[in-house]
């Protein structure tokens, strides 16, 4: 497999719990764009076997709902590391990357795309209108980033610029 131009986009969350489904919704939208070198995956949560998946790609992007980031999203680098979980079958993205590094010798770069959500505590398959706007901005953003492989340039957390500003810039990129 040629690893030099491959990206895996993993969206995770529960589509039956309102804005918790933002990650899978992003993957659904991006999957239709026909981006070259892109593998997409959706699941309820990250699990250990995702380490094997990311190890086969140069870049991994983990897309999830975010309860507290600036609107509409934030995009930041992930470093491998353990999580402080108590009793959960799920893992967090840094843990996935640490396993990929330890077990499969992965040198994959990893990023997290947190999409601001607002409504989580109900059983509802609908994403809230506010989160839907953030999702649309995130789709445009990640499409541009993957097409141009501009992951480092697009980070929103290095100097904490307004993600809304980035999204607005992305409007100009269209």
């Amino acid at each position: 497999m040629n690893l030099t131009a491959t990206t895996v986009l993993i969206g995770f969350g529960n589509p039956g719990r309102c804005d918790d489904g933002l990650g899978p919704a992003l993957v659904d939208a991006v999957s239709t764009l026909g981006l070259p070198g892109l593998t997409t995956e959706s699941d309820y949560q990250l699990t250990v076997e995702d380490a094997d998946l990311v190890a086969h790609h140069e870049v991994a992007v983990f897309a999830d709902a975010d309860v507290s980031c600036r609107e509409p999203f934030r995009f930041h680098r992930i470093q491998p590391g353990p999580s402080a979980r108590f009793s959960s079958h799920a893992v967090e993205a840094p843990e996935v990357m640490a396993l990929a590094q330890q077990l499969f010798g992965a040198t994959t770069r990893a990023y997290a795309l947190g999409i601001r959500g607002y409504r989580f505590n109900a059983y509802d398959e609908r994403i809230s209108p506010e989160a839907r706007r953030n999702l649309d901005a995130a789709v445009r953003f990640i499409e541009h980033v993957i097409r141009n492989r501009s992951f480092e340039e697009a980070l929103t957390d290095t100097s904490e610029p307004s993600a809304r500003g980035l999204a607005a810039n992305n409007e100009d990129m269209k």
Partner: protein, 480 residues
Amino acid sequence: MTTTAKTKRIIIEPVTRVEGHGKVSIYLDENNQVQQARLHIVEFRGFERFIQGRPYWEVPVLVQRLCGICPVSHHLAAAKAMDLIAGVDQLTPTAEKIRRLMHYGQMFQSHALHFFHLVSPDLLFGFDADPAIRNVIGVAKKFPDLAVQGVMMRKYGQEIIKATAGKKIHGTGAIPGGVNKNLSIPERDVFLKDVEQMMNWARGSLKIAKDYTVEHLATLAPFGSFDSNHLSLVRADGAMDLYHGNLRAIDAVGNRIFDQVNYQRYTDYIAEEVKPWSYMKFPFIRSIGPENGWYRVGPLARLNTCDFIDTPEAEAARREFMAVTHDKPNNLTMAYHWARMIELLHSMEKIQALLHDPDLQKQDLVVKGQRRDEAVGVIEAPRGTLFHHYKVDRNDQVVMANLIVSTTHNNTPMNRAVQKVTQDHIAGKTEITEGLLNRVEVAIRAYDPCLSCATHAMGRMPLDVELFDHRGVMIDHRAR
């Protein structure tokens, strides 16, 4: 929650990502001895209402929204109920075997993941090892072969689920009266290629759990242990059956409380108690009452209730397991891990047998029948017995749903386990030590609780601990 003037309160508040969040409160008396310990599980209610009004055939897919950890168990329990609603008492051989393959795949991946991801760090490094090392990353560094096995076993089970349920999220494989796909020869051959490897790894996993338990039996025997009743499904001949059977309950020494009960009548035998300090209900056996009628479910209970296991290697392992307690029920909390690995091997033996069964490639997938208005579906999920109960109106819409999940059955036992370890290990201390956290966590982990309610999203704290003195003043606070 109230705190009396003469008790100190220690709170352990883990907020996990998907399975929900719980909190442990430990009440000390004036002499710093444990007066009471409570595990609070904040269960999000309302799922039953979410289902109401939906057509019954959608329910096996809808219920997977309930839990991102064990969606297959909910999918199959709901499908079993909806088989009966659709008037189908017996599936075709192909349909039942496809569902069983899906279920054993779920059991295999869940047990493997729990053991390697959550439990093996405790066993390999010791309960008191630095949490910075005592985690799956630590295992990956020091025991990389084991960690790879855990990952690949999980992946194997997940791929079986994907092949039989159609996809990872919101699988559609099981439908009222059957399944919507079989397993093609090419799909089958992918799994057959690795079956021997998986069998060997399952044997190895069982050996780790067994050797550890036997070697440390003197230490583990009292750890969070207590006598209890046990409940599970068993087959008509008494065999362990993870997919279907009748209810059997036994007491702590093996006397049968009830046996071969058709689970359509579960409400005649099981009731649920509400306590003011917990959101989660407390099930109990009606004939005994709430005080002493609580019971354990899951791998330990299943090993205790069944008469035998119908696969040779798991049966040999069961005999070894039961010999430790002289063929009486094993009431050791830490024996859950050994029992879980016996089921891991059993599931793999079942998967191997099913993959060689030509019925999986046949086309007779669905049966139809005369519509009914009410039904119960029960399955042995990885964590224990799972009940789905539905009523449907003449417009085919669900008007009532009641679910009793495995973690709810184990509510009282988990509280007992926490109380036991705190009494044994924490009493006399007035600060939150690593040893305190570790032992409470280890005891709860043995039950593999799935707090199936919470959403997950970035930005939650995983563990928060607060300590109050007898005046209600916080004197210590730690977050992990």
